[in-house]
């Protein structure tokens, strides 16, 4: 393969310069020619290594500058163009096109999903059927009620009875059974409340993933995302975050710039609730449709406003958007099931130990009286938010794990302690509240301790302040949901 003459000359010169000191060992798997080309394309890693060989560095720098002067565009473009031309020629030689072009049905579907005129209604339809009906009503409603009911009517009483018989000390009984037991609270929360919701979400998400719809959604929402400093590429981690923020934080790696990654991780921590959270909230608020809409609106507005402000405050350039659109494909059922199963398994083994541990902590807290002390401390906060004193434990739970807090909210509502207004306030605060421990871990890994600490210190008071604002507005406007 041959590049324009000036580039070929430069390659030969750089190859000999590298051979001199034997420093082409910097990338031992590659050929000398390849390394020279990478250097010409300003590869940052190789240039950094070149710094260690100051003599060669200067000489090579000179060669590169001289070569660049002979081109009006960057050397990388000239190199890329040559390759593209050869690739194009190869394709024309080896692919035989049919006499008549076949138009596939998927082309028609593609147009429907990408252009906002039809794309937005399709999105709304997916949101309504997939999110509201499937995850909210079926997952968080029917499934949770059924499994929860089973726990309340069959498992819990049996466990209570067995522990009463087998373990003579009430203190130890409380550890496993009764109100705060590992099985009656911890495992019940995990299996009956969180898993059905997360499972239904991942089933729906896998369908969207495999169909090829997500990149098209990225395209359609790119404009909107540009207003908060992100590109359409961030759509995928954010939608994944609606399932599990921990996984989403990991996927922010696919974003091009550090700035984009930072904004996305921040928004994921603050205003993107995970499936366990919003699924449960959806199920609870479905009895108060106006509260549901207000909650959705608040979270969405915070997402936009905070994103916008962060974008303005952070130095740097806006991100570019490029994505290769895969064809729309019919999802393979086996793959969807496998993926959902895998993700649920991962999630399950993550929350079961944590939820059990939480039960143990609560048990200890009750035993030592520490629990009551903390609740007393939280009382003024719940009062300001207009919530009943029984809501105080929810924030303790939420501090530990988002999904645990949501499950606690579910319990509270079913015990009849919250009216419409209070449900809205609690839902808002819990949604905006801290990321869970797993997410924090990944955040620390991806963004470092300074950034993570900053985010946590902002989110905590922000969530409560907003709850206060919502409550004041509701009471002052005399709205009763």
């Amino acid at each position: 393969m041959v590049y324009p003459v000036p580039i070929e000359t430069a390659i030969t010169e750089i190859e000999s310069l590298l051979s001199e000191s034997n420093c082409w060992g910097i990338a031992p798997s590659l050929s000398k020619r390849s390394i020279a080309l990478l250097i010409l394309q300003k590869d940052p890693t190789l240039w950094e290594i070149l710094h260690k060989y100051p003599q060669q560095y200067q000489a090579i720098q000179k060669v590169v500058n001289q070569t660049q002067n002979q081109f009006s565009e960057p050397i990388s473009s000239a190199i890329a163009l040559s390759r593209q031309q050869i690739a194009l020629n190869l394709e024309e030689e080896t692919i035989i096109e049919p006499i008549q072009e076949k138009i596939l049905l998927s082309e028609w579907w593609h147009k429907l999903t990408v252009y906002p005129l039809t794309g937005l209604p399709i999105l709304l339809l997916i949101l309504y059927l997939g999110v509201y009906k499937f995850v909210g009503q079926f997952g968080a409603g029917t499934l949770v009620d059924t499994i929860e009911g089973f726990f309340e009517e069959v498992i819990n009483p049996t466990v209570n009875q067995l522990t009463n018989q087998l373990i003579p000390w009430p203190i130890l009984q409380d550890l496993i059974a009764h109100d705060y037991g590992i099985i009656t609270l911890g495992i019940r929360y995990a299996v009956a409340i969180v898993l059905p919701v997360v499972g239904t979400y991942f089933l729906m998400f896998s369908l969207l993933e495999d169909s090829g719809y997500l990149p098209r959604l990225s395209l359609m929402l790119d404009r909107l995302f540009k207003s908060i400093g992100l590109s359409g590429r961030a759509v995928i981690p954010i939608i994944l975050g609606l399932g599990c923020d921990t996984m989403a934080t990991l996927v922010t790696r696919t974003l091009e710039t550090k700035r984009e990654r930072l904004i996305t991780v921040f928004l994921l921590a603050l205003s993107i609730p995970c499936a366990a959270q919003w699924g449960v909230i959806l199920g609870l608020l479905s009895h108060y449709p106006s509260a549901l809409m207000i909650w959705g609106l608040i979270i969405f507005l915070i997402f936009l406003v905070v994103g916008y402000i962060t974008d303005k405050m952070l130095p740097g350039n806006k991100a570019n958007f490029y994505i290769s659109l895969p064809p729309l494909r019919l999802p393979i059922f086996k793959n969807i099931l496998k993926k959902t199963y895998l993700r649920m398994k991962w999630y399950f083994w993550e929350i079961i130990p944590i939820f059990m541990f939480a039960s143990v902590l609560l048990w200890l807290g009750h035993l030592t009286g520490l629990f009551e002390v903390i609740i007393q401390g939280l009382q003024p906060i719940t009062k300001i938010l207009g919530l009943p004193p029984q809501a105080a434990p929810i924030f303790l739970y939420g501090f530990f794990r988002r999904d645990y807090g949501a499950a606690g909210l579910f319990d509270l509502q079913h015990q009849g302690f919250l009216n419409g207004n209070q449900l809205l306030v609690a839902a808002v605060v819990l949604t905006l509240f801290l990321p869970c421990i797993a997410q924090l871990q990944i955040m620390l890994k991806e963004q470092g301790i300074k950034v993570s600490l900053l985010i946590v210190c902002f989110v905590f008071p922000f969530a409560f302040s907003l709850g206060y604002i919502v409550n004041s507005l509701l009471t002052n406007l005399g709205i009763n949901l």
Partner: protein, 212 residues
């Protein structure tokens, strides 16, 4: 670190553990390494699933795979370490997950690279092939999504492509399980033809390193 000055047999271990300390047991267990490389969303992970016992997440959008996974590939009675990578558009990386794949290519000596290509889009994908060929990396081209090529009514002159590029070309359809047997056979042919063994590869590698 001057490897030539390392007098003990530790030399072999040094190279192996240079950049990828995780899953080091897999490196030692199956010393022959084959990596799946290609642009995002071409079917590397789908191929990985059909070649190994592992399962990695497969989706229809670019950016699904963000880290490196290893699995065991069995060909006849031989075992290889198969490595799945995030997609890259070129050897010059753009995002974080591209760097992961690129660093693997740069710092680890691989016995074979299976370059997975979207056969519907040769003009786009082949520029990466050209880069890999320039780098003189040991290559087999797996032309994936051949079922979709057929749907479009296109036909591929496989022999001509193989002649022009000078590397084995195997048409496959990973999600349908087509062409996998043929691919395995050509991998075996390649490995035996070059007489590859871990000691052969490592001595080659050693000769190319002076000072790191």
């Amino acid at each position: 670190m001057n490897c030539h000055q390392c007098s003990t047999n530790k030399q072999k271990k040094c190279h192996v553990s240079l950049k990828y300390p995780q899953n080091r047991d897999k490196w030692q267990e199956y010393p022959l390494r084959i990596a799946l490389v290609g642009m995002p969303n071409v079917g590397k992970s789908a191929l990985f699933n059909s070649l190994t016992d592992n399962y990695v997440v497969v989706s229809n959008y670019p950016g699904t795979t963000v880290e490196i996974t290893q699995g065991k590939l069995q060909l006849g009675s031989d075992y290889f370490c198969l490595i799945d990578t995030p997609g890259i558009y070129s050897l010059v990386p753009i995002s974080e997950e591209e760097k992961v794949a690129r660093n693997l290519l740069l710092t680890t000596s691989l016995d074979l690279i299976i370059h997975v290509i979207d056969a519907k889009n040769l003009r786009h994908n082949l520029s990466l092939s050209l880069e890999l060929l320039e780098a003189k990396l040991p290559l087999i081209l797996a032309l994936n999504m051949m079922d979709e090529v057929e749907d479009l009514g296109l036909r591929l002159n496989q022999d001509l492509l193989e002649k022009q590029l000078g590397v084995p070309v195997v048409p496959i359809a990973a999600t349908e399980g087509l062409g996998i047997t043929l691919l395995k056979r050509r991998i075996m042919l390649y490995v035996t033809a070059l007489g590859l063994s871990s000691s052969h590869r490592d001595s080659n590698y050693r000769d190319r390193i002076a000072i790191i």
